[in-house]
């Protein structure tokens, strides 16, 4: 049993030119980006840049043209993503819409939903967030309790979501709700695309341990959501969510979150580093290169219509471990004054504090390894 058969990454078209397009666009915008926002950059927001990407045709790249997309391949999109991440471009505002909400609407949404959201998402003007986690439903997502009762006027939604990234900057939340009273676990769940300006919805900030306001609580108190906000089939929510999560596991954002620190380290130590620092750089590079091989191969499988669930979980788990270990390894090897204001120190401090989140968002190591073990036939 070969666990990870490799599929070559062969996007069509002029890939070096596509990279250059992204690099040029970043160069036009980067002067006003904070150093810290260049690490973990798919959690950083810059509206002007998101719109510029939309204008340049670098969002919604593989969506149909009728919805504002550009009908390019998933692999060309992959190239754009990895460039944005490696260059530390703040890509957080449009990230969720471009990565998962838009594609889910294309797959399951009604024509009206597509018309309403997709063109704006493709322009980098409409942003979405992921309404899955609840106070009592984390890893065990099937225990969500937020309810939506069907009435002639619409869905009456009550309950609470939590840890919702970017809800305060988003127009809508694709929300997992229980539409069948008394249902348990995977049954009776549905997805609603909920506009966040609806009365009865309150978004409250949660300040994370870096001091940033990134994620939120969302409260639903008898919020009346139009019946046509249902995405896909009533009761099919679990299956749709599983498909959604597959879109978010193997991408380059799962190993490049700390890349800015590697860049800063190489620059700080110069062309002739001490032997132990050279070895650290070599070790990080070997992991980075290998993860990129794995992530590209998984992207190629997704592009070919395969369903690489295990591979995607492997990439995320190994990738998170790498991007999480990077700041700790740098701290161990480099005598950096953490109170100093050098680029290296600032990024190191930022990532030491930020990186514990990498293995939480999108599934913990235990959950991912559970998925792998299932794929291996052990459970």
């Amino acid at each position: 049993m070969q666990i990870f058969p490799i599929r070559p990454f062969n996007p069509p078209g002029d890939i070096p030119a596509l990279r250059q397009q992204v690099r040029d666009l970043v160069a036009q915008h980067e002067s006003h980006w904070q150093l810290e926002s260049r690490a973990n950059c798919w959690f950083s927001f810059d509206e002007a840049f998101s719109k510029a990407l939309g204008k340049a045709g670098l969002l919604a790249m593989n969506w149909p043209k009728e919805y504002g997309g550009h009908e390019r391949t998933m692999l060309e999109r992959y190239v754009v993503l990895e460039e944005l991440l490696a260059l530390g471009a703040p890509a957080g505002l449009h990230w969720i819409a471009d990565r998962q909400t838009g594609p889910l609407l294309i797959r399951y949404g009604t024509e009206a939903q597509k018309q309403k959201y997709l063109p704006g998402m493709a322009r980098g003007e409409i942003y979405a967030c992921i309404g899955l986690s609840e106070p009592n439903a984390g890893s065990d997502l099937a225990s969500v309790r937020t309810s939506a009762r069907k009435t002639p006027e619409g869905w009456r939604v009550n309950g609470q979501k939590v840890w919702t990234s970017g809800a305060h900057r988003s127009h809508a939340a694709l929300t997992l709700v229980r539409t069948e009273e008394g249902s348990e676990r995977h049954a009776g769940l549905s997805q609603l695309m909920i506009d966040l300006d609806t009365p009865g919805i309150t978004i409250r900030p949660i300040v994370d341990m870096t001091g940033s306001h990134h994620f939120n609580e969302i409260f639903f108190e008898d919020a009346l959501i139009p019946l046509d906000a249902l995405v896909g089939t009533e009761g099919n929510g679990w299956k749709q969510v599983v498909a959604e999560l597959a879109l978010e596991r193997s991408g380059p954002e799962r190993y490049l979150s700390s890349h800015a620190l590697l860049v800063a380290l190489i620059d700080a130590v110069g062309p002739e580093p001490a032997p132990d620092i050279a070895q650290l750089i070599g070790r990080l590079t070997a992991e980075l290169w290998t993860l990129r091989q794995m992530s590209m191969s998984t992207a190629a499988k997704l592009d070919a219509g395969e369903d690489p669930v295990v591979e995607a979980a492997i990439v995320k788990d190994l990738g998170n471990a790498y991007e999480q270990a990077l700041p700790r390894l740098v701290q161990a090897a480099v005598d950096a004054d953490l109170a100093d204001r050098t680029d290296l120190s600032r990024l190191l401090v930022w990532l030491l504090v930020q990186s514990p989140s990498y293995s939480l968002r999108g599934g913990t190591p235990e959950v991912l390894r559970g998925i792998i073990a299932k794929g291996l036939g052990l459970r």
Binding site: M1, F9, I266, G270, G282, L288, M294, V310, G370
Partner: protein, 321 residues
């Protein structure tokens, strides 16, 4: 996989499985007869005309079957001889990379070395071997060239790097074999009234094991692609060998842990893979060696230059549809 490569792999798999429990004397004539040695020698020079992807397929299978005879070394030796335009002698030719022992040296009819841009062929009567053994009990002999070379010619091949690639390919196969044994074992062995596989701690350990094997598969494939598609694959070889060494470090303890005492016996097959993996981690460059090589190379690229170089290299490997 190309049809040719599939045929080659089928042939290799059948033969290697037969040779798995043999020894050098029994195995070498069969390997020689099958003609693997000339895998990389162009067809117009009487070889198989294969590429590095073919080498990966064959060596992966050799690793998976723990073939107790040299498969990689003659392939690399004949490749270097063909590159240098030196006519290959009869028999088994092994390799002497700078600073490395000669695998299976005592059985060799000749040895190829490359140093300072020059390939040299030494017949066995020009070699003096100091015998040694790998942790797997395989010959790892130090050589001094006490006679003159039978032939020499300019050659730019980096024999240690090619040897490192060979060990990556073999390790990917050996890890798969060890992994397969471990899966079978945890499914069968019962403790506390159920198969070990049903314990979450065991499942998680096996998932980690699979991740490491996957990383080696990916780096081996990426490395073969670079050897075939770039004029120089030093970056990829260093990355792949180092990542493989790390995987060996992480995965072999798990293989033994989930097996319990049975895995520690000579009779049970696991040690045939893990002892080789332990050896291959050191052969043709340990972790510190390749980390230093790669780190010094990356340092000269500069922070942003690393990404530019990585993408430039991989973009050149894209095959038009």
């Amino acid at each position: 996989m190309s049809d040719n490569r599939q045929l080659l792999a089928d042939m290799a798999e059948g033969l290697f499985a037969e040779l798995a429990e043999s020894d050098f004397e029994a195995a070498w004539p069969r390997l020689a007869e099958a003609g693997f040695s000339t895998l990389l020698v162009p067809e117009d020079k009487g070889g198989f005309g294969g590429d590095w992807g073919d080498v990966l397929a064959v060596l992966r299978l050799a690793g998976r079957n723990a073939v107790p005879a040299p498969v990689a070394e003659p392939i690399l030796a004949h490749h270097v001889l063909a590159l240098a335009g030196i006519e290959a002698p009869q028999g088994f030719v092994s390799i002497a990379a700078p600073g490395c022992r000669v695998p299976w040296g005592r059985h060799a009819d000749a040895v190829v070395s490359v140093e300072d841009g020059k390939a040299s062929l030494y017949m066995v009567d020009a070699c003096t071997f100091t015998e040694g053994e790998s942790p797997a009990g395989e010959p790892l002999d130090a050589v001094t060239f006490t006679g003159t070379a039978a032939a020499g010619a300019p050659c730019e091949a980096d024999l240690a790097a090619l040897g490192a690639f060979a060990r990556v390919a073999q390790a990917s196969g050996a890890l798969e074999a060890a992994f397969t044994l471990a899966i079978e074992h945890v499914n069968q062995r019962q403790q506390f009234g159920r198969p070990l596989a049903k314990f979450q701690a065991v499942q998680q350990a096996m998932a980690e094991f699979s991740e490491e094997a996957a990383a080696v598969d990916a780096s081996a494939a990426g490395c073969a692609a670079a050897l075939d598609g770039l004029d120089e694959a030093g970056f990829e070889i260093a990355s792949a060998k180092l990542r493989t060494n790390i995987a060996i470090d992480r995965a072999t303890p798990i293989a033994h842990r989930v097996h319990g005492a049975i895995g520690f016996t000579m009779e049970y097959a696991l040690n045939r893979y893990t002892r080789r993996l332990m050896s291959w981690r050191s052969e043709f460059g340990n972790d510190a060696h390749w980390a230093g090589v790669l780190g010094r190379r990356v340092a000269t690229l500069g922070g942003k230059g690393l990404w530019v170089e990585m993408t430039r290299r991989s973009d050149r490997l894209i095959q038009p549809a």
